[in-house]
């Protein structure tokens, strides 16, 4: 496999000779809509999404019906045989 890997690396080294465009990390071929919504957005009846600091873990767990070892306890979704 080592010699094959050398051939493959030689193949990808050819990229050096071609035009390239600087792009930001995470760029996709499809334009994606922003995940955040505005209050006046058509079809959206809630408040605007505003980035904010994360809530303390204890406060979030305190809102849960049940928690254990720092995690939510939730009802089983999958039957045991599906796992």
């Amino acid at each position: 496999m080592a010699s094959q890997m050398e051939e493959i690396v030689a193949l990808v080294d050819r990229l050096e000779g071609f035009d390239a465009v600087e792009i930001e990390s995470g760029t996709a071929v499809a334009e994606r809509e922003a995940a955040e919504r505005e209050a006046d957005e058509p079809g959206w009846t809630g408040a605007s999404d505003v980035p904010a600091p994360c809530l303390p873990r204890e406060q979030v767990l305190g809102e849960a019906a049940e928690s254990r070892q720092g995690f939510f306890v939730v009802p089983r979704v999958l039957p045991p045989e599906a796992e």
Binding site: M1, Q4, M5, E7, I8, V9, L11, V12, D13, R14, L15, E16, G17, F18, D19, A20, V21, E22, I23, T27, A28, V29, A30, R32, E33, L78, A82, E83
Partner: protein, 507 residues
């Protein structure tokens, strides 16, 4: 050995559904015919990993009951379909052609499969594939290779090897595959089928096991362009479970019988850098079918189309760019198979050893090779030289293709460098194997729709294929051009698969 040819007489998906809805054919009869054909061909081709006989028969009975009650089961009523085994079907094995997932069962059903079922289709089996969809020949399955129904000594292409074979050998008129770098189009080309890669974002990938997420797409393999259009009209549409699926409504019906009679007034762009004369590497692979390509261009001209040469300078960089990007994404996506949550687990006393042993035993050589390349290309000190560079080349290619498509209706190119190659011929030569995809990776990198359509037979009696690429979400135009070309070619040949005895036990 090349079996004799016979005219194709098997119903298309559209004809089957129409007959079932009219009451001229029952879904039970339709499924029985598919299962009978499967039993005849499977010993020779090994297209299927699992046959869902009981479930298919029960579902057919249910479809027939609905029809007798006056319900309409949908546009695929009673159509037997096959599903590539990297798409989830609840309760059934989901192996991805890998020993690592040999006993893994899907806890839910993929959206694409669900949409076929909602349209009245009946799944008769899960099809073989190159492990984790990484391969171009169908030989990289942990469960053994699939063989090309046109010549059992040749590969059917990959990675959707079983789906292409199931369609070409007349088991089903419609099968689902997945296309990352050409895994629907290239096997369709080798098997004389139609293979459509929809626009990235057109069809939900929920329930498709990830290989390279920025390119993975679900697509249909069929015998006719009309059936490909019918399939994508069923598959398309937004899915809240896949944020990348932003699909506007599809209107592909014009791809079928209602399509244009000819291509008068159309301008087709032949990509200069992909002409048989321009492509000569790697040296181990010859572009043998320049005559086939010239005939295809004549067909388009005979339909009234004007053909202009367009230049896409980065077209020849597409293959290395694809290898880097897809391997990087694969190395990240496959990190989850570490022997703890999924698949086989090596029993060792040490967690690190468990990871190493489980992955070393579970993954085949091609998957390991790609994980190694991806991990290398993402490593500190190499990332800019490989991954970032490849993404930059990809973006330049995307812009070049968009510019070319702004001047023509569609782009055309060969689907593969030639007909199907012999089993084992390229297994030890990864560069020659990767070269099979050199014409298909462009649409993958740019997220464009592309369809492979049979264009005739080569000197060995093996299918050749032409690829038509369009603008994003312009499947309609791509399918209209494909339908006109299909009619002009009149490709009705099918491999002769009567009974396994015909091949004299050549498997």
């Amino acid at each position: 050995m090349t079996p004799a040819r016979r005219p194709g007489a098997v119903r298309t998906a559209g004809e089957t559904a129409a007959a079932v809805r009219r009451g001229d054919l029952t879904a039970v009869e339709s499924v029985a015919a598919a299962l009978g054909r499967l039993r005849e061909t499977e010993p020779a081709t090994h297209a299927f990993l699992d046959v869902l006989e009981d479930q298919a028969r029960e579902r057919a009975e249910e479809i027939d009951r609905r029809i007798s009650r006056g319900d309409d089961p949908g546009p695929l009523a009673g159509v037997p379909v096959a599903i590539k085994d990297n798409l989830a079907l609840a309760g059934h094995r989901l192996t991805c052609g890998s020993g690592l997932l040999a006993e893994h069962r899907a806890p839910f059903t993929a959206t694409a499969v669900e949409r076929l079922l909602d349209a009245g289709a009946i799944v008769v089996g899960k099809t073989n594939l190159d492990e984790f969809a990484m391969g171009s020949s169908g030989e990289r399955s942990a469960f053994g290779p699939t063989r090309n129904p046109w010549d059992l000594g040749r590969v059917p292409g990959g990675s959707s090897s079983g789906s292409a074979t199931a369609v070409a050998s007349g088991v089903v008129p419609l099968a689902l595959g997945s296309d990352t770098g050409g895994s629907v189009r290239q096997p369709a080309a080798f098997c004389g089928a139609v293979g459509l890669r929809p626009t990235w974002g057109r069809v939900s990938r929920w329930g498709l096991v990830a290989f390279a997420s920025s390119m993975d797409q679900v697509g249909p393999l069929t015998r006719t362009v009309s059936d490909a259009a019918l399939a994508v009209s069923v598959l398309a549409g937004p899915d809240t479970r896949d944020a990348t699926c932003q699909s506007p409504d599809c209107e592909p019906e014009g791809g079928g019988s209602a399509g244009d009679p000819d291509l008068t007034g159309w301008t087709l762009g032949a990509i200069e850098e992909l002409s048989p004369e321009a492509v000569s590497e790697p040296a181990s692979e010859s572009v043998s079918e320049s005559g086939g390509w010239a005939r295809a261009l004549d067909r388009f001209r005979s339909l009234g189309a004007e053909i202009v040469e367009v230049t896409v300078p980065n077209a020849t960089a597409a293959l290395p760019a694809y290898q880097v990007v897809s391997s990087c994404e694969a190395s990240a996506n496959l990190a989850r198979y570490e022997g703890v949550r999924y698949g086989i687990r090596a029993e060792t006393g040490d967690l690190r050893e468990l990871y190493v042993e489980s992955r070393s035993r579970g993954f085949g050589p091609e998957v390991q090779r790609r994980i190694l390349l991806g991990t290398f290309a993402l490593a500190k000190g190499f990332r800019d030289a490989y991954y970032s560079r490849a993404q930059g080349v990809r973006e330049a290619l995307r812009r070049q293709l968009a510019a070319a498509l702004s001047t023509v209706d569609v782009l055309i190119a060969p689907t593969a460098p030639g007909g199907a190659f012999r089993l084992g011929e390229r297994l030890d030569d990864p560069l020659a194997m990767y070269g099979s995809d050199r014409f298909t990776v462009l649409a993958s990198l740019a997220g464009l729709p592309a369809v492979a359509v049979p264009s005739g037979l080569d000197g060995d009696g093996l299918p050749l294929s032409v690829q038509i690429l369009g603008r994003r979400f312009d499947e309609l135009r791509v399918l209209r051009a494909a339908a006109a070309f299909e009619r002009a070619v009149g490709f009705t040949c099918r491999p002769a698969l009567e009974t396994p005895e015909v091949w004299g036990g050549s498997r």
